[in-house]
């Protein structure tokens, strides 16, 4: 489904943030990537859809190496990869409905998008997704009038509008309170169960990772130091990932 081979990233030459990552992802399930700040989790996620350009290595998605694609091919590939962001990254001034339909921009010509002539099928799908995420009453509300949790649900729905084969999430709950964080993670778990695509979540809350993910990858210093199930991760592992003991108890 998704294979990462020898991925390296150096923002400053000689100081690699990712030191050769090798990972394989199956066709379904939630994988949580944990690790201290600055260890390259966000870089890893962003290298997959090339929002950050890898310095070297391969990202093989659906049989093609994304790193080798040209711009047009990359755009086509990105249509199948949905992404959820820490700061939601909605277009604040547009309505919820319009934000959702932005998820189809990879499939609709700019002219049609400007005229707002999306295929009726997409419009129907948008309304259905709004019901799934519980925001049916807010279709015409402006995005900046919503709460953080609501905005993130719009963000998730927008990603789902792409009919993705892979869902990436870069710290989706870091800007939310604990209760809302659980709601968002539950939503992603539900969606992941309903559809057959892998979900890779970059998260710094270990408890959430343990509770919702089927697989945990621990990173430190730009390398993968743990790769296994949530039950298998022990305090020793967490110490080696994060360092220090005080925060564990």
């Amino acid at each position: 489904m998704l294979a990462i081979r020898g991925l390296r990233k150096e923002y400053v030459p000689g100081q690699p943030v990712l030191q050769g990552i090798d990972l394989e992802f199956a066709a379904r399930g939630i994988t949580a990537v944990i690790g201290p700040s600055g260890t390259g989790k966000s870089t890893l996620i962003r290298c997959i859809n090339r929002l950050v350009e890898p310095t070297s290595g391969q990202v093989i998605f659906e049989g093609r190496d994304l790193v080798a694609l040209n711009r047009a091919e990359l755009r086509a590939a990105r249509r199948r990869i949905g992404m959820v962001f820490q700061e939601y990254n909605l277009v604040e001034r547009l309505t919820v409905m319009e934000n959702l339909l932005c998820g189809r921009l990879g499939y609709v010509s700019p002219f049609k998008a400007w005229l707002r002539r999306y295929p009726q099928r997409d419009v129907e799908r948008a309304f259905d997704l709004l019901e799934t995420v519980g925001l049916a009453a807010h279709a015409q509300t402006r995005a900046d009038a919503l709460s953080g949790g609501q905005r993130q649900r719009v963000g998730i729905a927008r990603a789902m509008m792409q009919e993705p084969r892979l869902l990436l999430a870069d710290e989706p709950t870091s800007s939310l309170d604990p209760k809302t964080s659980v709601e968002i993670m539950t939503l992603m778990q539900t969606l992941s169960g309903m559809h057959a695509f892998p979900v890779i979540i970059n998260i710094h809350n270990v408890e959430l990772a343990r509770r919702f993910a089927g697989r945990i990858i621990g990173m430190t210093g730009g390398r993968v130091v743990f790769d296994g199930s949530p039950e298998a991760i022990t305090d020793e592992h967490l110490k080696s990932i994060y360092g220090g003991e005080d925060w564990l108890h």
């Binding site: 409905m97 319009e98 339909l101 707002r116 999306y118 009726q120 419009v123 129907e124 799908r125 948008a126 309304f127 259905d128 279709a139 015409q140």
Partner: protein
């Protein structure tokens, strides 16, 4: 997902009739205005052909009459500098008088009226009037641009003064300080960096305008430009225009530096 047979398809974007009406009116107006002005594509195309010939007559620019060019530019610079200086001198106290948060109505209303009047007319119109009044030459230009500066600077400065925090003014007043001290210690510090920005913008604008008032006889490079035009001396025209562009670009860079020095 359940099939949606037989239901009315839902609309993602409810139509905004007010906006559509406004756009319709707008386009109708454009068509109307274009027809009133007799802007036809035919005239435009005819002009383009002529324009090609014109462009070739512009280039290469002719810099032979260097002294004339220099003289005109220097005069424009003088006009700009003096008009800005005079403008600042007059508009600073005027703006203070016009500030409604600091001054009583009998002071602020006349001051505001003066500034509005100064601002209404284009510098060229004011320049023509001064030429008719005081004769051709730089004096008319300086006076005209001073008027324009007072109008523009005055408005901006007044707005800046009206936006200050009165708490600081109150605090200085409470120490028993005389009015001018209140101004210098409570008002000026709050508005000074914005003032520097305004003055540099206005000097920049005066530099632009000073290149133009000469067209109506108020001194500066504009007169040289107009004369060259009437002689069909288009190479020289090109040289003058290029010099003007260079001068104004230099002016913009300079004002940027000055703003940095004052941490605007």
């Amino acid at each position: 997902m359940a099939a949606r047979t037989g239901s009315i398809s839902r609309r993602a974007f409810p139509p905004n009739w007010a906006a559509r009406a406004a756009w319709l009116v707008f386009f109708v107006y454009l068509a109307y205005a274009a027809s009133r002005l007799e802007l036809t594509p035919a005239r435009f195309m005819a002009g383009l052909e002529h324009g090609g010939k014109f462009l070739s007559r512009l280039f290469p620019p002719d810099f032979h009459r260097r002294e004339l060019l220099l003289k005109g530019m220097v005069e424009s610079l003088q006009i700009a500098v003096l008009a800005s200086a005079l403008g600042v001198l007059i508009s600073a106290p005027l703006a203070l008088a016009a500030a409604r948060n600091l001054m009583p109505a009998w002071a602020s209303w006349p001051a505001r009226a003066v500034m509005v009047l100064c601002r209404t007319f284009h510098p060229v119109i004011v320049a023509i009037l001064f030429v008719k009044a005081v004769g051709f030459g730089a004096l008319a230009g300086i006076l005209a641009l001073t008027v324009a500066s007072v109008g523009f600077l005055g408005k901006l400065m007044t707005e800046a003064i009206e936006e200050i925090s009165l708490k600081q003014v109150e605090a200085v007043r409470a120490t028993g300080a005389p009015f001018m001290s209140v101004v210098s210690h409570a008002v000026v510090p709050q508005v000074f960096s914005r003032f520097v920005g305004f003055v540099s913008y206005e000097t920049d604008a005066n530099l632009r305008n000073s290149t133009m008032v000469g067209i109506v006889g108020a001194g500066g490079i504009g007169g040289t430009l107009f004369a060259a035009f009437q002689r069909f001396d288009y190479d020289f025209v090109c040289a003058i225009v290029l010099t003007i562009i260079a001068l104004i670009m230099a002016g913009e860079v300079l004002t940027l530096r000055i703003k940095k020095a004052f941490r605007v």
